[in-house]
């Protein structure tokens, strides 16, 4: 069997969700395992509740940081409406992980703008030929009475659902998580493993 050597991941969400953290953890884990990695996040106004996008390229060699339209082995979206901005990158046969949280913009709350339904978004994902992987926020566990980090939860599902599991390996990712949050390692590892498990039940 041929081991995967490459994986292009597009990460999408809203500033504050920890979308970029997913990429940083994978970047660290890849580097620790000797996998070539490139991470290119959006910055600036993203941290103000706006649209956030990042591109992570593993094993891409000397290529540039941008992933081609239709070229992502995995798209990860952490907000339902913003997920639509990732459709262009979805690749037939690739994974599209949707953590289906809803951050309604003001215009939607005031009834001025439309907000897409879960069904419409899943249909649109399916139309790209990518595998939709739905993570219901309700599946994100609570640890010690506090909600676990949804981004780490999503990361667990992402690793389990893609070639990242063999390219980087879940163990390496767990080590990176533990090193990143020494005082909250347990809670975050619970979140990560819940994500891995959720995949079994959450695959759409």
């Amino acid at each position: 069997m041929t081991r995967a050597t490459r994986c292009d991941v597009v990460l999408i969400g809203v500033g504050g969700q920890g979308v970029l953290t997913i990429g940083e953890i994978l970047l660290d884990a890849a580097a620790a395992g000797g996998v070539e990695a490139m991470f290119s996040p959006t910055k600036g106004m993203a941290q103000r509740g706006g649209f956030v996008k990042a591109e992570l390229r593993l094993g891409a060699g000397d290529a540039g940081p941008r992933i081609r339209v239709g070229g992502a082995d995995a798209v990860v979206a952490m907000e339902r409406s913003e997920a639509l901005k990732g459709l262009a990158f979805a690749k037939p046969g690739g994974a599209f992980v949707l953590y289906d949280s809803v951050w309604e913009p003001t215009g939607v709350m005031l009834g001025v703008d439309e907000y897409p339904t879960r069904e419409r978004v899943l249909e649109a994902i399916a139309a790209t030929g990518a595998r939709p992987i739905l993570l219901d926020p309700a599946l994100c566990p609570t640890v010690g009475g506090k909600p676990a980090s949804p981004n780490v939860f999503t990361l667990g599902a992402l690793v389990a659902a893609t070639v990242l599991s063999e390219l980087i390996g879940a163990d390496a990712v767990e080590k990176t998580i533990a090193a990143r949050w020494p005082r909250a390692a347990d809670a975050n590892l619970v979140a990560f493993r819940s994500g891995e498990k959720a995949l079994d039940g959450g695959r759409a």
Binding site: V14, G16, Q17, G18, K43, G44, M45, Q47, R48, G49, G50, F51, K53, R66, V69, E79, R80, S81, E82, A83, L84, K85, L87, A88, F89, D100, S101, V102, W103, E104, P105, T106, G107, V108, M109, L110, D113, E114, Y115, P116, T117, R118, E119, R120, V121, E123, A124, A127, T128, D136, P137, A138, C140, P147, S149, P150, N151
Partner: protein
Amino acid sequence: MRRIVTGNQAVALGALRSGVRVVTGYPGTPSTGVVEHLLTMELPGRHVEWSTNEKVAFEIAAGAAWAGQRALTTMKMSGVNVAYDALISIAYSGTNGGLVILVVDDPGVSAGMAEQDSRGFALLSDLPMLEPSSVAEAYEFVVAAFEVSERARTPVFLRLTTAVALTSACIEVSDEVAPPTLAPGEPPGGETRAGESGGAALGRGVILERDIARYTKAGSKICLDQHRDLIERLNVAGGVIRAMGLNDLRLAGKPGGVGAVAVGSTYAYLTEALAVTGLKPEQVSILKAVATTPFPREEAETLLRHCGTVLVLEELEPFFERELWIAARRIQSDARIVGKLDGTLSRLGEYGVDEVVEGLSVALQDTPVRREGPKAVLASANREPKERGAVCEAAPRPITVCAGAGRGGEHDLKGEPSSTVLPLADLTGREDASRGASPTPAPRPITVCAGVGRPPEDDLKGERTASVLPSALRDTQGRRGDVEPAPRPITVCAGCPHRGTYMAIEAAIKKAGLSKDAVMVTGDIGCTILGMNPPFELIWNEVSMGSSVSLAQGYVHAGIKTPVIATIGDSTFFHAGMPGLLNAVQRRVPLTLVVMDNGWTAMTGMQVNPGTDDAFQAGGRRIDLARILPALGADRFDIVDPYDLPAMTTVLADGLREPGVKVVLARRECAIQARRHGAAAAVAFDAAKCVLCKRCIKVTGCPALGCSASDGAEQLGQNRVPGPSGSAGRERITVDAALCNGCGLCATACPTHALGCPPNVSCEQLGSKPARVGFNKGRGGQP
């Protein structure tokens, strides 16, 4: 009426002839004479000033032009370096009223500073540039520049050189001086009104246009669209210039002969040089290039097709010459191009007759010229190089007398590749030996100039192709399927003090009996610009660091009758806002400046600036805006807490009614940083009192507020709830306790007191916290 004027005075008079309303500048030889001349005149209804610096000067002119008036700003070449931050930004937005930037370059450096060629700035910013060749043309071209500016809606550069700017000549000057304001679309003599009928009178011909896509730079979509529009405006300007016939092409002689491109003031020496060389004007094709950006492609190509050799005469950098090489390649012309790139002419110094003669001599060496009089001798291929060299050294070179000490002497140019100049005697009276032998390029058809604008070409094509879309465009345009993401305009963070400032400005405008559509609120760079977005839609524009204060002055000088407010952050004010404020104070310009001081350079990720608390200065020291601002001399200075809505509204409303410069320091530490210093308490929410009017969301747009129909809606934080589709039940307001810092601004908007003060904070405190000088490092909601 014929008058003796300098080139600079001609520009001044041409501007008056054009109906200019606002003229600004910063002195700098050789450009000083324009504003200086205007200041000697009585000019009711117009505003003329020396500004604090060239950037401020430009921004004031640009503000007036955005407001629909004609405006001129003047500077020497070095001044463009100072103004450029604002200039490139305004270039991307375009203009409404005519906006002309006069820059005087100083080849030969009669007055010191870098011998730079400002034409590079026109290329860099895709702005049209006109280069009058004489004092008379300086007068005419100001009028033309305003016309191009308004027809193409772009700022236009007018570039003089020392030789034109400081030379006096007797020229025809019209007695007519147009009244200020000739902007297109002006209601004849009437007041422009804001918004719907019945809106406030803004002033005669004043335009207030709310369009953040055009007047701000906050967002990649906005900026990419502006870049496309910029390119298109230059194309339009090219068409306008061509239709005006500014660049004059005269083909002469038989095909295959000599042609010359004379850029700007070099044209003035061409006739003289032709006489010296014994050539007649009808023997040489001449392109008088006085509008050089955009490159006059059709004229250049026509010249290349007609001529065997083209001499390019331009002082300083070979900008035109490079374009000519590209044009030659494009049409596969094998015409020889003589100029700087082949080493004939120098990039240094001012040109005079000698340089033109030198260039002509080289151009004539291998090119047949049809002669009618005594036959000129042309260099033949078999001529000994040594002999040529010897003759060259012997050639007399009269030195042209020029005002100023800096005319480039021979020694200045010695380092450049020496040219092969034929002695003048050799150029006249010898047989055309090479004529029969030299290959004559076949005549090429002359392309007729197309109409206005270049054909749609490669410039834009790429941007519309999905495969090469920049990522920012892909995000919004490369989607598949018909389901659209909800618009997500960026707003300020939960608890951000700027929210209080926006709300207070809105409230003050209302209190003053005005509508938002009648009050210009200029914006600046950084988080403070987010007031342009819903729900505030308060800030109209964003140009460059520190521009808000100067732009506001431009609107005032444009004749706007309603109050003008400028907003700026602390770091931005330190960066480049102070010169603008100094200018306003010095000129007693009625406006309100709100300095939104959150103590950090926040947008970029919390960097330290001069106003940041001492504790973070790493051995440096804090410079307190509360001490700097009053020292700058405003007529009124207040420090307010933006969480204290009533107090801030009162201060601002008073300011809108008062004359003079009012400065308000809206001071409260960035909510993100304040949270890091200490825990914050969320506002209390009493669902029983909520009538779901959503005023809290409408007024504040706070990200901590939600509206959901889901069960368990209070469990928010990073776990945002599934939206309406996944659940049933009554909609309800939610407060995200993880985001809310209890600033209480939403509570001021709640008519039923469903939203109230956080635990342990009295409601009295919420609405009436005392203004404070230092930063509040404790809980956001508590004094």
